[in-house]
């Protein structure tokens, strides 16, 4: 069976940057993912990736990363969902829904997914009023009323973005203060289309064919209320995709993988990069940096073994 020097799981900026460096070091490199792009795809404009001062769409930047990795010989296979990772002697055995792959090293760059509220109606109304991507879905709520759930930077930024389309945006947050940076907070407070609903949690998302209301509860008074809306956008953070390698790594209390500065996990030969990693800043530029470091660490690991 074919053995790869490096298997990279995840074709977002972290995985593709690792692929560029690994490929350029002439390691036999395989990148696996369901689809390329990662979270970059749902970002309208990237304004802070160095060199792209005229701003670039998430899609375009991700395509450049992909082509760059392929240019240096990394093989990218899409359509794979990784179900299981185990150690087979000295090799990593990666099982996907399409097949099995063996690698001498493994770089885990599987990124994160939007965290779910976990309330009734959330799954049923996905694409029918429930959304995790304002850029993708905002335009379908022209002159409608929407709610945004969350209190961090993305919740507030996406609320502002949605005012381009919606006639009214309710911003629902379970606390009385936002975590978002001050500039964005004041922009939100100045916007006449945005109404703040603080100390409220969502109990359920209701509707027939489409979302038509939310049931909210005031956490201070316990009072419940019905809020008529056409859609709800949920931005309550991200969950790292770690389950297939959970037995091989240590995680922080929030579930993110702990590595050292060389991206090494507790399992020799297994590295973690990008949004899955415990770190202070999750951006394209830090994911790319992690990827480069991990590829270098993998190269070193392989050399030392020989």
């Amino acid at each position: 069976m074919e053995v790869w020097d490096v298997i990279i799981v995840g074709a977002g900026p972290g995985g593709l940057a690792a692929g560029i460096y690994a490929g350029r070091s002439e390691l036999k490199t395989l990148i696996l993912d369901r689809m390329p792009g990662g979270q970059l795809l749902i970002t309208e404009e990237i304004e802070n990736y160095p060199g792209f001062y005229e701003s670039v769409s998430g899609f375009e930047l991700s395509e450049k990363f992909r082509k760059h990795a392929e240019k240096f010989g990394a093989k990218i296979e899409v359509g794979h969902t990784v179900n299981e990772v185990s150690l087979d002697g000295e090799l990593f055995l990666v099982k996907t829904d399409q097949g099995e792959f063996r690698g001498k090293t493994l770089i885990w760059a599987a990124g994160s997914n939007p965290r779910k509220l976990g309330v009734p109606g959330e799954v049923e109304f996905l694409g029918r009023g429930v959304s995790y991507c304002a850029v993708c879905d905002g335009a379908f709520f022209k002159d409608r009323v929407v709610a945004v759930v969350g209190g961090g930077d993305s919740a507030l930024e996406e609320s502002l973005y949605l005012t381009k389309f919606a006639k009214k945006v309710y911003l629902i947050h379970r606390r009385d203060k936002f975590r978002a940076v001050k500039v964005i907070q004041s922009r939100v407070k100045r916007n006449e289309k945005i109404e703040l609903l603080l100390n409220k949690v969502v109990l359920s998302i209701n509707g027939r064919d489409f979302v038509d209301s939310l049931t909210l509860k005031d956490v201070k008074t316990g009072e419940e209320m019905e809020l008529p809306v056409d859609g709800v956008f949920i931005f309550i953070g991200n969950e790292p995709n770690v389950s297939p390698i959970l037995h091989l790594v240590d995680t922080d209390p929030a579930g993110f993988i702990i590595t050292d500065e060389e991206m090494r996990t507790k399992t020799p030969g297994l590295f973690a990069v990008g949004d899955v990693r415990s770190k202070p800043l999750r951006q394209v530029v830090t994911a790319a940096s992690d990827g480069a470091v991990a590829a270098m660490s993998a190269t070193k690991f392989l050399e030392e073994k020989e």
Binding site: R34, M35, P36, G37, L40, L41, I42, T43, E44, S57, G58, F59, S62, V78, G79, H80, T81, D97, Q98, L126, G127, R128, G129, S131, C133, V135, C136, D137, A139, F140, F141, D209, F210, G231
Partner: protein, 108 residues
């Protein structure tokens, strides 16, 4: 290549009155996941040529069609059989997801 539907009349003729099942990809140029999905849609068009028609609807150009089918997010891929919606998938998915959606309908 998947055919782009440009007018409501064309949608009626090519999708609703089609003799064979039609896979419709609702997309827009500003949607990153939609653009990432485009090559998959083209591959499906080729793979099922003659058995399933594969078309694209730009929701900016045909908002009435998008509204009529209750599109609230893109990419949304709908499979039409005899003018009715037989199956719907929302969001970027691997090709196998659409293949099994099509195979199910072809198998019936």
């Amino acid at each position: 290549m998947a055919q782009e539907i440009r007018t409501v009349e064309e949608f009626e003729r090519e999708v609703l009155q089609s003799e064979i099942p039609v896979l419709v990809d609702f997309w827009a140029p500003w949607c990153g996941p939609c653009r990432m999905l485009a090559p998959t849609i083209d591959e499906l068009a080729q793979e099922y040529e003659g058995r399933v028609k594969v078309v694209k609807v730009n929701t900016d150009e045909l908002p009435m069609v998008a509204m009529q089918y209750g599109i609230r997010g893109i990419p949304t891929v709908m499979l039409f059989v005899n003018g009715d919606v037989a199956d719907v998938k929302v969001g970027l998915q691997p090709k196998a997801v659409f293949e099994s959606m099509i195979e199910r309908v072809l198998g019936e």
